[in-house]
């Protein structure tokens, strides 16, 4: 049964060359209401019971053949249509226009992440500070020669632009009146009257402090090596040099290998092969007392490093001023933060 219809359908399928003719065929043969196949199926119900099985089989075969053939032609037609849309696979993909986060901010975010993971409280503070928080509390009285190391901008009324974020740590400890344990990391803008390849009158620092009963210099070494390797995303070599900062005793200068020249000496590292990140050491008892702590009970370490410097190390940026020139050709290189 239905051989004639099948032949007829196949004949028509051969002529299909557009979505319209395809649709016409579908309506005519497979349409729900009046399609030939639907009609054939409907007719089965009208037959006497004993004929239904056989007729049903034929009708199902009829249906299946038409559907299969139809699908085949439909697919062929679709493929043909696709070919008509020319795709140039070498054309750049559509990427939504993206901005970027400033490299210094990226470094700050990274530092926050690393030190938060190590249970530090992340803080920020005012950029205009009191002489007390910035100097006096940190064992740097007026007319102390150490003030020369941090040539200071003064604002009216005897205040100053903070020269280091240590001032913020002092402020936080004083404000919280907390005894121990203390773990604080502060970041932010600092200011010193200095301008060169390595110095900008405005720069950023991160400053850490850890105070408890038995905190040692070897804890400081461990923490800095772990945290800085994570922050710089590479194994770094560090060295501590005997140095003097009035707020720490023992005090040290903290250096990491210069990655610009790999230690062989270049203009950025003043041909030493090392880059100074900043000062660190064990908090001076006077500082602990000034912060409302008892040096007989607690001790701790502190460090204060520049943020631009590690960025310069990481990305081999030769001049600190590039950070604040905001040249689009500089900024756009930091679109994708390192993963």
């Amino acid at each position: 049964m239905y051989e004639k219809e099948i032949e007829q359908a196949k004949e028509q399928l051969r002529k299909i060359d557009s979505p319209q003719t395809l649709e016409e065929f579908r309506v005519r043969w497979l349409g729900r209401k009046d399609g030939m196949v639907t009609q054939a199926m409907k007719k089965i119900a009208e037959l006497p019971k004993q004929e239904r099985a056989e007729a049903g089989q034929s009708a199902n075969r009829f249906k299946s053949i038409i559907e299969t053939e139809f699908e085949l032609v439909k697919q062929q037609l679709e493929q043909a249509t696709h070919k008509q849309t020319v795709v140039d696979p070498t054309w750049p993909g559509t990427v939504p226009p993206s901005g970027s986060i400033h490299p210094v901010t990226q470094m700050i975010f990274k530092i926050w992440e690393v030190f938060s993971d190590m249970n530090f409280k992340i803080c920020e503070g005012p950029e205009i500070e009191t002489d007390w928080n910035n100097f006096e509390a940190l064992n740097v009285p007026k007319h102390h020669p150490a003030r020369d190391m941090q040539d200071t901008f003064y604002t009216p009324g005897g205040f100053l632009l903070r020269t280091h974020t240590t001032a913020t740590n002092a402020r936080v400890i004083l404000g919280e009146q907390r005894k121990s344990p203390i773990r604080i990391l502060s970041t932010g803008k600092c200011y010193r009257r200095d301008s060169s390849l390595r110095h900008s009158p405005m720069f950023h620092q991160f400053d850490g402090v850890m105070i408890d009963k038995d905190i040692s210099m070897s804890n400081l070494k461990w923490t800095l090596e772990v945290a800085l390797s994570k922050t710089l995303e590479q194994e770094i070599k560090v060295r501590l040099r005997y140095s003097y900062f009035p707020f720490v005793e023992p005090g040290a200068e903290f250096d990491v290998t210069c990655t610009i020249c790999a230690g062989s000496g270049c203009a950025v590292c003043k041909h030493s092969g090392w880059l100074e990140l900043g000062g660190c050491g064990m908090l001076h008892p006077n500082v602990l007392r000034n912060l409302g702590l008892d040096p007989k009970e607690v001790q701790g370490w502190a460090f204060g490093f520049g943020i631009e410097r590690p960025m310069m190390i990481k990305h081999r940026i030769p001049n600190i001023r590039l950070f604040f020139d905001n040249d689009p050709r500089f900024l756009s290189q930091f679109q994708a933060p390192s993963v």
Partner: protein, 792 residues
């Protein structure tokens, strides 16, 4: 501080170490070495020559042509130095040798040259041209080195290394608390300790003075500021230059030789660390009084500079007036001249704070003030005077010690410190034994006064003014062992949540929201200047001016970010980039003598759709921070075009403003195209975030969405249309959103086609289409009635 290795070797037995090793040792454990100047190889090719004859240069009055013997050969050399003479032994550079070019300061290879028509086969060189004079001594004197004192005919043709010391010079960055390292003896002591070598110094003494009484009275009024004032009165002084060996050491250390008396005072300072000053005693009138200056007093120092003094400077006056700026520089009236016969050599200790204060106030820094500021140990006075006398007497035998002065104020007892082994190990994280501590401490010159099982009572050496408390001694132990030998140990602390503020916690998310939306973060200096302030039309009163700016260009603190972003945009546009920039920074707003320091978040972009970009940025932020109560309300702002200015408001409080930047202002700042910006208070923005947002049930019944497109007058703003839609859209209206605006053909002039989408939703049933359609009819009718709107 520059130290010469051979000079150090005078005080250290069996001192033999490479410059690299010494540098590394000092840098890690005592004092950072900024630079090592090792000339051994460079100067091999510079040879000793002897001037045989001299002739005038035929074409130049100031030049002469010298015939110079180098032993095997003779050279004809054109020379401009006024101090050459026949028979003089000189240093000669032949073509191919390296000398310092005085213009650039760089080493250059010498070439044969013809100078004003006469061939010169080499160069007779000065100390500065061989880097044998540094710093202040390297100012081109046009003089060449006279080696006659040390060279003989047997040296002629040989390298000058055979007659001159060229051992390495170390430029030390001496720490502020280690004034003891401001001298060769001090550095030698330190090195001897670190290398476990023997430090030795000659024992000198003063002869008996001819008189017990000084020829003039010396009175110390500022006793508190002058703990010790001593000196020698010497007669029989003649005017003569110092010997070559002394000049050579001074020049290499950066000090210009003047004459024997002055050179000896400088030499002793570099050797012992005690600044000395020599007065011409015959020019001192009647008496010397050491006192504090009064404001406005005047004094001319020996460099010819007239100073108007601040109050409280330590000065010395005689019967005629001020003669000395103590601790900084002597006065001109009593300086050493070729007439000087009697001198007073002063060795004093002055208050570090006071010298520093005066030196800074006058902007006058000297070798002496640099040492006094850090602190000069009173024990150096005797050594310094002994050495000064010894040198002067040896080099000028006519010198006699007439009398001595030594006025001492009572000194506090020497410091005693207890160092505990347990505290040492706790602070350093080390495992040192009491024996190790004792060994280190003794090697560094400390005296052990008392020993218990777990502590030592020690007295620091007299030159170590910096050691006062236990931690100072612990530092000595730590640095002697080298900090780098300490173990690395993780700290053990109680675990607790590390709380932080939302302003910090949310920032990475806020910044990435903006960056993803195409905004680029910039970071500018916090300073601004009068010229920029003027361009913005603001007044300087609103700005905080720094007391001591680096330059007028950076004299004020920014009080807003927006205008500086526009200035930056100019730069981006010039480079062909469309700026879409934002910045988070503190602004400083002067309020009389007070000020406010507020973090601002600002941004700007340019282009026809800049306003929409800016508003979109603000909306994206509000949405991301779950701030849904904020309304955009018309406002005015100094930077924005009035009709486009919107304030972000919650109740009466405004968290910031957005708008089209006033074209006049933009033009002033260098941007000649439409631009828009925003400036928000970062803290207020953060304050409005809510950690939680309410979940709303998903509607059970389907909604009906209809798009409506009407033609209305062009000047009707969306907000007005929206109001009508919301008022007349019926109870099931759930959402209204505009999606297209069109003007131009075929829309009549003065009209625009506005398309918006309305959604209808009932909570308890499926709406009939007719209900929505009725609402649409209502809306259109109202729009028609109000503005003659037609459905399109």
């Amino acid at each position: 501080m520059k130290v010469i290795q051979s000079w150090l070797a005078d005080y250290i037995l069996r001192f033999n170490i490479s410059p690299e090793k010494l540098s590394a040792l000092l840098t890690a454990r005592a004092v950072e070495v900024d630079e090592v100047l090792d000339l051994k190889d460079k100067l091999q090719s510079i040879v000793v020559g002897k001037i045989l004859t001299m002739e005038k240069h035929p074409n130049a009055a100031r030049l002469r042509v010298a015939k110079v013997s180098l032993g095997a050969k003779r050279l004809s050399i054109v020379c401009g130095a006024p101090n050459i003479y026949a028979g003089m032994y000189v240093a000669v550079a032949q073509p191919g040798a390296h000398v310092v070019d005085m213009q650039s300061g760089e080493w250059k290879q010498l070439e044969a040259a013809t100078i004003r028509g006469v061939a010169s086969e080499g160069m007779i060189v000065g100390a500065d041209e061989l880097a044998l004079a540094t710093g202040a001594a390297a100012q081109n004197e046009r003089l060449v080195m006279d080696l006659t004192e040390v060279a003989k005919d047997t040296h002629v043709g040989k390298s000058i290394v055979s007659v001159l010391d060229v051992s390495p010079v170390y430029d030390l960055d001496v720490l502020a608390n280690r004034p003891d390292l401001m001298s060769h003896r001090g550095v030698a002591k330190e090195i001897a300790g670190l290398l476990k070598l023997k430090y030795t110094e000659p024992t000198l003494s003063l002869p008996k003075a001819r008189s017990k009484k000084a020829p003039i009275t010396i009175q110390i009024q500022a006793k508190r500021l002058v703990p010790r004032y001593a000196g020698l009165v010497l007669s029989g002084v003649k005017f003569q230059p110092s010997p070559l060996w002394m000049q050579h050491r001074l020049r290499r250390a950066g000090i210009r030789p003047i004459n024997l008396v002055v050179d000896v005072t400088n030499y002793v300072m570099l050797d012992v660390g005690q600044p000395l000053h020599a007065f011409d005693l015959d020019k001192v009138v009647k008496f010397m009084r050491v006192r504090e200056s009064k404001k406005g007093e005047k004094l001319m120092t020996l460099d010819g500079k007239q100073h108007e003094l601040p109050p409280g400077a330590i000065v010395i006056e005689d019967g005629s007036g001020l003669i000395d700026l103590a601790g900084i520089m002597g006065g001109q009236s009593s300086m050493i001249t070729d007439q000087t016969q009697r001198i007073f050599i002063q060795a004093a200790v002055f208050s570090p704070e006071r010298v520093r204060m005066t030196s800074r106030a006058l902007g006058h820094r000297t070798e002496a003030s640099g040492r006094y500021e850090k602190g000069v140990s009173p024990v150096l006075v005797d050594q310094a005077l002994q050495l000064a006398y010894d040198l002067l007497h040896r080099l000028m035998p006519s010198v006699q010690l007439e009398s001595m002065v030594d006025i001492k104020q009572p000194v506090s007892a020497p410091v005693q410190v207890v160092i505990r082994t347990a505290k040492t190990n706790s602070l350093l994280g080390s495992r040192v034994t009491p024996q190790q501590i004792e060994t280190v401490i003794k090697t560094l010159g400390f005296t052990v006064l008392k020993k218990t099982q777990d502590s030592l009572k020690v007295r620091p050496p007299l030159h170590r003014l910096d050691v006062k408390i236990e931690e100072d001694v612990i530092e000595e132990v730590g640095r002697y062992m080298d900090y780098n030998s300490l173990p690395k140990t993780g700290p053990v602390l109680q675990l607790e949540p590390a709380p932080t503020t939302d302003a910090i916690r949310l920032r990475p998310m806020i910044f990435s929201t903006l960056a993803t939306a195409g905004w680029t973060e910039v970071m500018q200096l916090s300073f601004t200047n009068a010229q920029h302030i003027k361009l913005t039309g603001k007044t300087e009163k609103e700005y905080m001016r720094l007391v001591n700016p680096m330059s007028e260009d950076q004299a004020f603190m920014r009080s807003e970010l927006l205008s500086t972003l526009v200035t930056l945009a100019k730069k981006h546009l010039r480079l062909g980039t469309t700026p879409k920039i934002f910045e988070l920074a503190k602004v400083f707003i002067a309020q009389g003598t007070d000020w406010a320091e507020i973090p601002h978040l600002a941004g700007m972009t340019v282009g026809k759709d800049s306003f929409a970009q800016v508003k979109g940025g603000a909306e994206a932020l509000l949405k991301r921070l779950h701030i849904d109560q904020v309304r955009f309300e018309p406002a005015t702002h100094w930077a924005f075009y009035p009709d486009t200015c919107l304030s972000l408001k919650l109740g009466k409080e405004s968290i910031g403003t957005i708008g089209q930047i006033n074209p006049e202002l933009a033009k002033q700042l260098g941007v000649d195209q439409p631009c828009a910006g925003f400036e928000l208070s970062y803290d207020q923005l953060i304050h409005l975030t809510s950690p939680r947002f309410a979940y709303q049930d998903i509607p059970v019944f389907p909604n009906i969405i209809l798009d409506i497109s009407v033609i209305i007058p062009e000047n009707i703003q969306w907000k007005a249309v929206e109001e009508v839609v919301r008022n007349f859209g019926g109870e099931f209206l759930s959402e209204v959103k505009p999606f297209d605006i069109y003007t131009g053909d075929p829309i009549p002039k003065g009209k625009k086609n506005l398309a918006f989408r309305v959604e209808f939703q009932a909570k308890d049933r499926t709406l009939e289409m007719s209900e929505a359609e009725n609402a649409r009819t209502q809306i259109v009718a109202q729009l028609n009635q109000k503005w003659g709107a037609n459905l399109r």
